[in-house]
Every structure is written in C-alpha cells, then in structure tokens.
C-alpha cells in the first residue's frame, strides 16, 4: 500500500449559534503511524475528522494530500475518498443494508471494481476486522460491537491509505475494546495510517504513536508523553491527565521507577516496578 501524507492547515468551521467549532485547526498525520485525536465531547473532533475525510467543506483553510489541496469537485472528492475513509461513531449511520456482506460490498462497487475483486475485498475486510463469521448474518441481529466492526470493514474494503475512526471504542466493554484495538493493530500492520478519536486519555497514551488534542477550535499535536503530561493543556481541553502518568511520575519521584520516559500502560508500569523494594532504592542502605 502506498503511503500518502494527509494534513490540514488553518481549518475554520463555524457552526450554528455563532461559535466556531474549528478556528484555525492544523494537523499533520504521520504516514503509516497511529494518531489519537483527543478532545472533550463537542470539542470539534468529529468536525475535524469530517473535514479531513472531505465530507465537510471548511469555511477557510485546506485539507491536503501530499501537499496538494483536495479539490471540492465531484471528481476531486471521489479521488480523495479512495485515499481517506472515515468511520462514524454510530455504526447505524453507515450500515444501510440488512445483509452484512452486501453492506460491505457497497464501497468497492462504487469504486467500479469487477465482481470477483469486490467479493475478495469484502472477505478480506471482514477477516481483518475479525468478523468473517458474520458475513451472512443480518445487520439487525448484530450486537453494537459487531456492528461497529462491520462498519469499519465497510471502510477498510475501500483500501484507504488513511483510515479515520470516530470514537471506535465508545460504548464497548473492555473485551470488545481489546478486540477492536487488535483489529486496528492488524490494519496498522497491513500498512494503513490509522487515526482514532477518543476522550480516553489512557487509551490514547497506550495506543498512539502521536496524539493531537482539539481545544478551543485548534489542535495541539505531539508525542503522547509530552502532550498528555501538559496539565495546563489538559485542563483547557477538559481532559484528565492519564493516571499512568500521574502515578508513574509519583513513583519515579519516590525512586521506584527508573528515570526517563514513563511506562504507558498498566502492564508496563507493573513490569517497571522493582520486584523487591530494598534492591533499587537510594536509601541509607549503602
């Protein structure tokens, strides 16, 4: 899969009731990596994703692929949709067919592919998302988590270079979150750039190569530990500090964790703790 560099510069989107949802938002999506887009409800995450996908035209600013602005013409948008696919938060906003396999075939057919190629892509996408067994099940009998993954498969079957996911883990229980993340890992391994939006800072810290926080209509982007360690930024963004960082910093202070970057998740934290306290402590032992 070829990589493309998707970016947005100075996006302005003004919604109803005067307030600007985006007010000069810029974002650069690292190719072939995982980006987590963080923000409180209503911060403009979804709006930003919709601009990136071409679904929404910003009042000002532009979305570029490899430095070239996306044309708003019918043809320009069609080309853009083969590079970028957005999966919406509510799977029922994208699943229009009662049959899973038929639904996933919609995108590839719109690309004008011949039947055998479409069937191959449908099977491949369902397999990648771990829902191959659901192909001949009716959409209305699926659980919420299954519908979410089928909706993602519908986008994956278009073989986009960049996959944008709006809150793919919202409403899922821990096991379903793990399954969804595993599916995203398979996508990443197959070469896709994956962007997900979430307000779960711990998830972002554990999963992302890079994070971007949407706050005040703008975007602050950087390395997960840097951005998610910035208390002032997090407060403005109505987000919590990831507890792994809070606790990790405290344990580091106590000398229980080695200096340097903090672990990003519970297993990492547990692994980094000393097995017995006496051994590593800078106490008066010596």
């Amino acid at each position: 899969m070829s990589h493309h560099h998707l970016a947005a510069t100075g996006l302005v989107v003004g919604y109803t009731r005067g307030t600007r949802v985006l007010d000069g938002a810029s974002l650069s999506i690292p190719e072939g990596r995982r980006l987590a887009l963080l923000g409180a409800n209503g911060s403009g995450k979804t709006t930003l994703l919709r601009c990136l996908s071409g679904a929404l035209e910003p009042a000002r600013g532009q979305v570029t692929v490899d430095g070239v602005a996306v044309a708003r013409s019918r043809r320009g948008l069609q080309a853009h949709r083969q590079v970028v696919q957005l999966v919406l938060q509510d799977p029922d906003d994208q699943l229009f067919s009662a049959s899973v396999a038929q639904d996933v075939s919609f995108g590839p057919l719109n690309l004008g592919l011949p039947e055998p190629a479409v069937r191959e892509r449908v099977a491949e996408a369902l397999e990648l998302l771990g829902v191959g067994g659901l192909a001949s099940r009716p959409t209305h009998q699926l659980s919420f988590g299954e519908r979410k993954r089928v909706a993602i498969a519908g986008a994956v079957a278009m073989r986009p270079c960049v996959l944008l996911l709006d809150e793919p883990t919202a409403g899922l229980d821990p096991t379903a979150v793990t399954e969804a993340l595993a599916a995203l890992a398979r996508l990443g391994a197959s070469g896709s750039t994956v962007v997900l939006s979430t307000h779960d800072v711990d998830l972002a810290l554990a999963w992302a190569d890079e994070v971007a926080v949407v706050v005040g209509g703008q975007v602050v982007q950087g390395r997960p530990d840097d951005v998610l360690g910035d208390d002032e930024l997090l407060a403005r963004a109505r987000l919590d500090r990831p507890w792994t960082l809070t606790l990790g910093a405290r344990l580091q202070e106590l000398g229980l964790l080695p200096a340097g970057p903090l672990p990003r998740d519970v297993p990492g934290l547990l692994a980094a703790l000393p097995t017995a306290v006496g051994a590593q402590l800078p106490t008066s032992a010596q």
Partner: protein, 248 residues
C-alpha cells in the same frame, strides 16, 4: 430483540443458502395449487407439503411456523362465516354453508402455509435483488432495501420510547395513552428523517455514486431442487385432479 420471528427464522433456516429463485418457484407453485385446485385433496396436500418442508428439511422452528399460520385465522374465520350467512328472508345459513366455509378456510390456510414456506426460509435482502430480474426498477428495489433495514431500527426506537413513556405513566389511562401514542408516532417519524439524513452523510463518505448498489450473496440454483419441485407440484396437481375429479 425486536426481531420479527418470521424474519429470524428466515435468517436461521437450513434453506438460507438455497437460491431465492428456487424457493420462490416452489412456494409460488404451491400457492397457485392452493388457490386453483379443489380443496380436497389439493389444499390439504399443499398445506401438508408446505408444513413438512418447512419443519423438515428447512428446519423452521415449529412454534414460529405455527404461530404465523394462526395469525390470519381471525380474519379467515370471520370472513368465511360472513360469506355463508344469508340475508334473504331473514338472516340464516346458506344451504351449503359448512362446505363453502370449509373450502374458504382450506384454501386460505394452505395458501398461507405456502407463502410462509418462502417467508421463513428467505430473508427479504435475498428476495429483493431477485426482483430486479422481474424488471422492477433498481430505484424501487433500493428503496425497499432501505425500508427493510430501517424498519428494524425504527421498531427498536418504537419499543424503547414506548417503554420509557410507560415508565413515566404515559399509558396509564386511555386518554394519556392516546396523547403518548401521538407523541410516539411523531418521535419515530422525526427519527426516521434523522436516520435518513445521517445515512446520507455516511454513504456519501463511502463513495455513493448513483444509487445503493450492493453485491448479493452467491446462492446458486440447484437442479435437483428444481426437479424435485416440478415433480412434487405435478404430483399434487395430478392427485388432486384425479381424486378431486372422482369425488366431485
């Protein structure tokens, strides 16, 4: 959860992977036999065949099939009785009332069972693409497909909203229940518009060009099934005409 029992059965049926065309031929053949052949033994044979095939090879749950067959019974009973009441010279039974009512019930039950054989083995989303071959315009088939998908979404909304209204005593008296039902209908209607709008957005993102083209599953026709269908239907016709002809 809001699954319609017949629809659930269709998706779970052992005949789910059979060609919808094959099943339609069998079912419609039986329907025509039920309608055109004399009630004895035609309708009886059709009814028995439909029930045996549904509960046997197609493995439709007997409960689902039984309930669905019983559903139109109220209409059939009242309709049949009304048709054999005679008004001339004061109300009374028509001379051949029992026989005529029996025939009506027989035709209706057999025909109903034959339609159910198709309904409980073939999901709508398999049948609708097949309508294209009958020269139904693509736009109509697509509208019908969206209807099929959305009716489950809306049925679920309907049940949940009604439950929420009931919890807040919205159906505690006839008067309140009427008011709540009006609000309920309006809520479901606005949700249907909202759904359509959001789907529009979602599908535009998936590259919707002109229409909602999808690829139906490959459900190949079976020669043996077709041969058995034709043989079976012929047998029913022949037996009915011989026995029925001899009796009548």
């Amino acid at each position: 959860m809001t699954g319609l029992a017949v629809d659930d059965a269709a998706w779970a049926s052992a005949w789910r992977s059979r060609s919808p065309g094959d099943k339609a031929l069998l079912s419609l053949g039986l329907v025509l036999c039920a309608l055109l052949l004399p009630v004895w033994p035609g309708s009886v044979l059709v009814g028995l065949t439909a029930v045996a095939l549904a509960l046997g090879p197609a493995r439709v749950p007997a409960r689902t099939f039984g309930r669905a067959v019983r559903l139109p019974l109220a209409f059939v009973a009242v309709g049949a009785l009304t048709s054999v009441v005679q008004l001339g010279g004061g109300p009374g039974w028509a001379p051949d009332a029992a026989q005529r009512a029996g025939a009506l019930v027989g035709h209706a039950l057999a025909g109903g069972a034959a339609v159910l054989l198709l309904a409980t083995t073939t999901p709508m989303s398999d049948l609708l693409p097949a309508l294209r071959r009958l020269r139904v315009p693509a736009a109509v088939v697509e509208v019908a497909s969206v209807t099929y998908r959305l009716l489950f979404v809306l049925l679920e909304s309907l049940h949940t909203i009604r439950e929420a209204q009931t919890a807040r005593m919205g159906h505690s008296t006839v008067r309140r229940s009427f008011r709540s039902s009006g609000v309920l209908a309006a809520a479901v209607l606005t949700r249907s518009w909202d759904r359509a709008r959001r789907l529009q957005d979602g599908l535009a993102g998936r590259g919707m060009v002109d229409g909602l083209r999808v690829l139906p599953e490959v459900l190949p026709s079976s020669r043996r099934f077709l041969a058995a269908t034709v043989t079976g239907l012929t047998a029913i016709v022949v037996v009915s005409l011989t026995v029925g002809g001899a009796a009548g």
